[in-house]
C-alpha cells in the first residue's frame, strides 16, 4: 500500500511538472488560461492526496483553496481581462518554443540533481516532491522571462506559487495560517497586477512589456 501511495503522489507531482511544460508550449491566450486552470487542478489533487496519506486534514483546506481560487476564480477573471483587452491573438515569445522547452529540460535536470543531493537523508517521497516542486518554480520563472506579454507573465507568477505550495505540502509542516496568508497575498497580488494591466494598456495601448523599455532612460 505504501508503494501505491508513493506512486500516486509521485505521478501527480510529475503531472504538475508536465502541465508546467504545457504552459510553456501553449501560445494562445485562452489556451494558456485553460492550461493554468488545469495546473491548479493537478495541484489540488496532489495536495488532497498528500492530506490523505499524511493524515493531515488541514491540507484538504489548502487543496480547496487551490481548487477554488486558482482553478476557478483566477482563470475566470483572467479570461474576462483578456476579453476586455481584446488580446486573443498569439503570444510572441522572446525565443521560440523549441529552445524554451530545451531550457526547461535543463532546469528540470538541474533541480533534480540539486534537490536529490541536498536532501540526501530525507525520505524518498519528500526528496522527489521537493525536486518536482523546484522544477515547477524554475519553469514558472522561465515562463516569466520568456513571455513578453504581461498576461503570460502573470500566469508564470501564479505557477511559481503553485510550485511553492507543492513543496510546502511535501515537506509536511507548513502551518495553515501561513498557507492561507500566502493564498490571500497571491490573490491581492493578482488584483494589483490586474489593475496594472489595465493601466499599462491605457498608457501604451499594448500589454507587451517591451513597450516599457523606452521609459528606462539612457543605457550606458
Amino acid at each position: 500500500m505504501a508503494g501505491l501511495a508513493f506512486d500516486i503522489s509521485h505521478l501527480l507531482a510529475g503531472g504538475l511538472v508536465l502541465v508546467s511544460f504545457m504552459l510553456l508550449y501553449q501560445d494562445r491566450m485562452i489556451g494558456l488560461i485553460n492550461v493554468f486552470a488545469l495546473h491548479a487542478l493537478v495541484l489540488a489533487l496532489s495536495v488532497a492526496w498528500q492530506a490523505n496519506i499524511q493524515d493531515a486534514p488541514h491540507l484538504y483546506i489548502t487543496a480547496a483553496i487551490a481548487l477554488f481560487f486558482k482553478g476557478l476564480i483566477i482563470p475566470l477573471t483572467l479570461r474576462r481581462i483578456v476579453r476586455r483587452l481584446e488580446i486573443h491573438r498569439t503570444i510572441e515569445t522572446v525565443v521560440g518554443i523549441g529552445p524554451t522547452m530545451l531550457v526547461g529540460m535543463g532546469l528540470v535536470a538541474l533541480s533534480m540533481v540539486v534537490m536529490l543531493h541536498v536532501t540526501a537523508q530525507e525520505a524518498l517521497l519528500v526528496r522527489e516532491d521537493m525536486a518536482f516542486a523546484l522544477s515547477v518554480v524554475l519553469l514558472g520563472l522561465l515562463m516569466m522571462v520568456s513571455r513578453r506579454n504581461a498576461v503570460g507573465q502573470v500566469i508564470g507568477f501564479m505557477s511559481i506559487e503553485n510550485g511553492l505550495v507543492l513543496a510546502a505540502t511535501g515537506a509536511r509542516g507548513m502551518p495553515l495560517v501561513v498557507e492561507i496568508s500566502v493564498a490571500f497575498s497571491i490573490l491581492i497580488a493578482f488584483i494589483v497586477i490586474g489593475i496594472f494591466l489595465f493601466r499599462i494598456r491605457e498608457r501604451f495601448d499594448t500589454v507587451d512589456v517591451h513597450a516599457l523599455d523606452s521609459f528606462r532612460g539612457d543605457r550606458q
Binding site: G3, D7, G14, L18, G98, M105, M112, L124
Partner: protein, 316 residues
C-alpha cells in the same frame, strides 16, 4: 513447439485480417460522432477486394521500383506487425522482436514509399515525399528516445521481455512511463498520418502528405498500400497495448484457455484504441505543416524527460 508455431501463424493471419476491420471501426466511429451514418464496418474489405480486381494504370515513365514498392512496403510492415506481441508473448518470432528492429522496418517502409512517390516525377508525389521525410526526421528521434527510456526502465529492448517486466507487480504507476506513453501516442499519430498531423481522408492538395505520395497508385498496388497503412495502425496500437496495458496477454507456453483470454483482451484493446483515436480525431483540427515540428518536438521532450527522471531519481 507445434502449439507455439500455430499461435504464431494465428497472429500473422490475425493482424492482417483485423487491420481493415480496425480502419472500418475508426471511420464508422468518426462518422457516428459527426451524426452521419457512415459506411458499414466491413467497407474496407470491400474496397480492398474491388481494388484487387481492378486493372493497374501505370505512368509511362514508372520504373520497376514503382511497381515493386507496394509489395515490399506491405511485406515489411507485415513483418513488423507480426513481431509485436499481440495476444501472447514468447512466440517463436519474439526473439527477433526488438523495438529497434521494428523502428528500422517501419523506417524502411517509409523510405520505399517516399522513393515511390518521387519515382513518377509528378509534383504532388514530390511534395508528399518531402513532407513525409520531414515528419519522419522528427518522429524517429522521438521514437528512439522513447525506446531508450523504456530500455532503461525494463533493462532490454526486446518486446516480449518488456511486456513480461510490465506485468510484474514491482512496476506501479511511474511518471517516466506516463511521459513515455504520451510521447509514444504523439509519435504514433504522426507515423500513421492521422489528424492533427495529416488527414487520412483528405484530397485537398495543400494538406495531403500520405495521400499525395500514393496519388499515382491504382488497382492492386493501391490495395497493397492501403492494407499496409491499416496494418501500421494495428502495429502501433498493439505496440502501445503490449507495453503500457499488457494485462490479459497470455504468457509463453500458456494453455488454450489463456490464449483465448489473451485473444479476447487483444481484440478489446484494439477496438478501444480505435474508438479513442476516432474521438481524438473529431475533437481537434488539423494543424499547419509548420506546426508539426513543435508537436513532435513535444514528444521528443517528453521522452527526454522520462529518460532524465529514470537516470537521476531512484523513484522514476
Amino acid at each position: 513447439m507445434i502449439a507455439a508455431i500455430a499461435a504464431q501463424t494465428l497472429q500473422m493471419l490475425l493482424v492482417v485480417l483485423l487491420a481493415p476491420l480496425l480502419a472500418g471501426l475508426v471511420r464508422k466511429t468518426k462518422a457516428r460522432l459527426l451524426r452521419r451514418r457512415g459506411p458499414p464496418l466491413i467497407q474496407p474489405y470491400r474496397d480492398l477486394l474491388r481494388l484487387l480486381r481492378k486493372e493497374v494504370v501505370l505512368a509511362e515513365n514508372a520504373s520497376w521500383l514503382f511497381r515493386a514498392a507496394p509489395y515490399l512496403i506491405f511485406a515489411v510492415i507485415w513483418v513488423a506487425a507480426v513481431l509485436v506481441p499481440t495476444f501472447a508473448i514468447g512466440l517463436p518470432f519474439s526473439v527477433a522482436a526488438d523495438l529497434i528492429a521494428i523502428v528500422a522496418l517501419v523506417g524502411s517502409a517509409r523510405f520505399l514509399l517516399a522513393l515511390a512517390g518521387l519515382d513518377v516525377g509528378t509534383s504532388f508525389g514530390g511534395i508528399g515525399s518531402s513532407r513525409e521525410v520531414m515528419i519522419a526526421s522528427l518522429a524517429e528521434p522521438a521514437m528512439l528516445m522513447i525506446i531508450f527510456a523504456l530500455a532503461l526502465i525494463a533493462g532490454t529492448t526486446q518486446l516480449s521481455v518488456i511486456t513480461q517486466f510490465m506485468l510484474s507487480p514491482e512496476v506501479g504507476l511511474r511518471v517516466s512511463l506516463a511521459l513515455a506513453l504520451i510521447g509514444l501516442i504523439i509519435v504514433a499519430i504522426a507515423e500513421n498520418a492521422r489528424i492533427p498531423v495529416d488527414n487520412p481522408a483528405t484530397h485537398l492538395e495543400l494538406t495531403m502528405v500520405h495521400e499525395a505520395m500514393v496519388l499515382e497508385y491504382s488497382g492492386r498496388h493501391l490495395a497493397m498500400i492501403e492494407m499496409a497503412a491499416a496494418l501500421k495502425l494495428v502495429l502501433y496500437i498493439s505496440l502501445i497495448a503490449c507495453i503500457f496495458v499488457p494485462w490479459g496477454i497470455a504468457a509463453s507456453g500458456a494453455s488454450a484457455a489463456a490464449l483465448a483470454i489473451g485473444l479476447a483482451a487483444y481484440i478489446g484493446k484494439l477496438a478501444l484504441g480505435g474508438v479513442l483515436l476516432a474521438v481524438f480525431e473529431v475533437t481537434i483540427a488539423k494543424m499547419r505543416v509548420f506546426r508539426v515540428p513543435e508537436f513532435l518536438g513535444a514528444a521528443l521532450m517528453l521522452a527526454l524527460l522520462a529518460t532524465l527522471l529514470r537516470l537521476v531519481s531512484r523513484g522514476f
